[in-house]
């Protein structure tokens, strides 16, 4: 699948997929990388070292700083794939240096899929189900 580079880099990992938007401030624990938003489909799951797949960000602009903090605390996702990266997530991944790509049809990706995210070339590949 071809998309648009938001933040450069290349990584391989297992997908963790949310059909719902993610608000990082108040929604993700900055020390552990666990989703803490009540009733979120991924509540209680860790995004550490995964390829995090979700449609778009939501909520407070402080979310950008949370994404940066996750990276600094070594609990960030390896990469991020969105349908549409809005400015909160774009700001966060660029400051943190987390590879990120958008304009991807995320309905094709399922939890646990092995993913190659090559942001520099704007490519997402599902290498294994």
């Amino acid at each position: 699948m071809n998309g648009r580079m938001i933040s450069p880099g290349k990584c391989r990992g297992n997908a963790i997929v949310s059909k719902e938007p993610i608000g990082f401030y108040g929604g993700v624990d900055i020390k552990t990388g666990v989703i803490i938003e009540k009733n979120h489909p991924l509540e209680g799951k860790s995004i550490k070292d995964k390829i995090l797949v979700f449609p778009c960000g939501k909520g407070s602009t402080v979310g950008s700083y949370v994404i940066y903090g996750l990276k600094k605390n070594n609990v960030s996702p390896l990469g991020i794939i969105n349908e549409e990266t809005e400015t909160i997530v774009a700001t966060g991944v660029i400051l943190a240096g987390i590879p990120c790509i958008d304009k991807i049809d995320i309905s094709k990706i399922e939890n646990g899929d092995k993913i190659l995210l090559d942001s520099d070339n704007g490519i997402v590949e599902i290498e294994g189900k």
Partner: protein, 394 residues
């Protein structure tokens, strides 16, 4: 987006990793919003200063960036902090809050940012010129500089404003372009506006109604800069109005095309309804003026009204450090303190932790404050003009 050779160098990391990332952020935002190029800016105003707003994640980010010898390239001011940076202890701000707030301030200082924490930079020495490109954050300051001065800025987030300050550039899109500054709704005001709170109430109503449009006002006969700041602040808070024009008063109004716009009429009845709507409390525990930060004219006017009186409820006036010092020199501060009031500099009621300071009902004359206090600070609000508010404290 077209980038110059020098800009390509920043993006390739030749100016260091911090600049590369910050510049990449500007390029990306420019791509998202369809900018054709970068433009140099005259000044910056950075939001995300109060510890209450940005918490530990923001604090750690700023400390990180500032530890890497990163300096701003243009005159850069800050939004209000979460407390008075000098008198916080005397005024009862919590100690642990103060400690974290000062970490943030020190990080900004290391980057060469001027520590004038105010939402009215234009009253405190950061005054853009007509048509100057700038990158400002705070929504009322953005509205004032775009509308009253005719400078050009989008509403920047904390990190994008900081990136603009460190790179000296901003992407050319949105309100930097003349064609995007044209009005798209007409507001016909059929009632006299007397008090600053009238402008706040009007702004609250228009912001709610037009959301992020660019209103063109007719029927406002006169307004001083305090009243325009009150109007713009309320529209930016209840809606997302970053630019407005007023026939006969603001510099771009005569230059724009206002033909054939949908017209919304506002009269006495609509204004009274807004006053009712914004009032959720009866007796204020505290009355706070200065949202946006009070000018010296506003301080002197409150001073005259409380001179020689004994206040039963405290009055706070929030302002910039510069206005506070002028007020000290004029003796206003002394008169206000003798009556039982305080002049609080560097901070404001919306970003300070007033809900933890024993207040439940706050009196304000600001449409913006009336919009934010119930949610951000769990306050009931008494919204009224300055005379009624002063009376409520006696």
């Amino acid at each position: 987006m077209y980038l110059t050779k020098d800009e390509e160098k920043i993006l390739n990391g030749e100016m260091g990793e911090v600049q590369e990332r910050l510049f990449r952020l500007l390029v990306r935002l420019g791509d998202i919003y369809g900018a054709d190029k970068m433009i140099p800016i005259g000044s910056v105003q950075v939001a995300g200063v109060s510890y209450k707003s940005i918490g530990d994640p923001g604090t750690e980010f700023l400390e990180d960036i500032s530890s890497k010898e990163t300096k701003v390239k243009v005159l850069t001011y800050l939004n209000p902090a979460g407390m008075d940076l000098e008198d916080w202890d005397k005024l009862g701000f919590p100690k642990d809050f103060a400690k974290n707030q000062l970490r943030i301030i020190n990080a900004f200082k290391r980057m060469g940012i001027v520590i004038t924490t105010t939402c009215t930079p234009y009253l405190a020495g950061n005054l853009p010129r007509f048509r100057e490109h700038i990158a400002w954050s705070e929504s009322s300051a953005v509205s004032f500089s775009n509308s009253v001065i005719g400078a050009r800025t989008n509403r920047e987030g904390g990190p994008s404003a900081l990136a603009a300050a460190i790179c000296g550039l901003t992407p050319n899109y949105g309100l930097h372009l003349w064609e995007k500054r044209q009005p798209n709704v007409r507001i016909k005001v059929n009632t006299d506006l007397v008090y600053n709170s009238d402008f706040g109430a009007l702004g609250y109503l228009v912001g709610k109604t037009v959301k992020n449009k660019i209103p063109f006002f007719t029927g406002i006969k006169n307004a001083d800069t305090d009243q325009l700041k009150s109007l713009g602040a309320a529209m930016a808070a209840s809606g997302a109005v970053a630019l407005y024009h007023i026939e006969g008063l603001t510099p771009e109004a005569d230059l724009t095309n206002d033909k054939g716009l949908e017209t919304i009429e506002i009269g006495k009845k609509e204004m009274n309804n807004i006053y009712d709507k914004l009032n959720s409390g009866e007796e204020p525990d505290v009355v706070i003026f200065g949202c946006p930060h009070a000018s010296l004219r506003e301080i002197s006017s409150i001073c005259r009204k409380v001179e020689g009186k004994k206040l039963k409820k405290p009055i706070w006036i929030c302002t910039s450090r510069l206005m506070k010092e002028a007020s000290d020199r004029m003796g206003y501060t002394n008169i206000i303190e003798k009556a039982g009031g305080h002049i609080v500099a560097d901070t404001c009621m919306v970003v300070s932790p007033i809900e933890n300071m024993g207040f439940n009902v706050t009196g304000v004359n600001s449409g913006k404050a009336a919009n934010y206090l119930p949610g951000f600070c769990k306050q009931k609000v008494v919204f009224a003009n300055i005379d009624k508010l002063v009376e409520a404290t006696l």
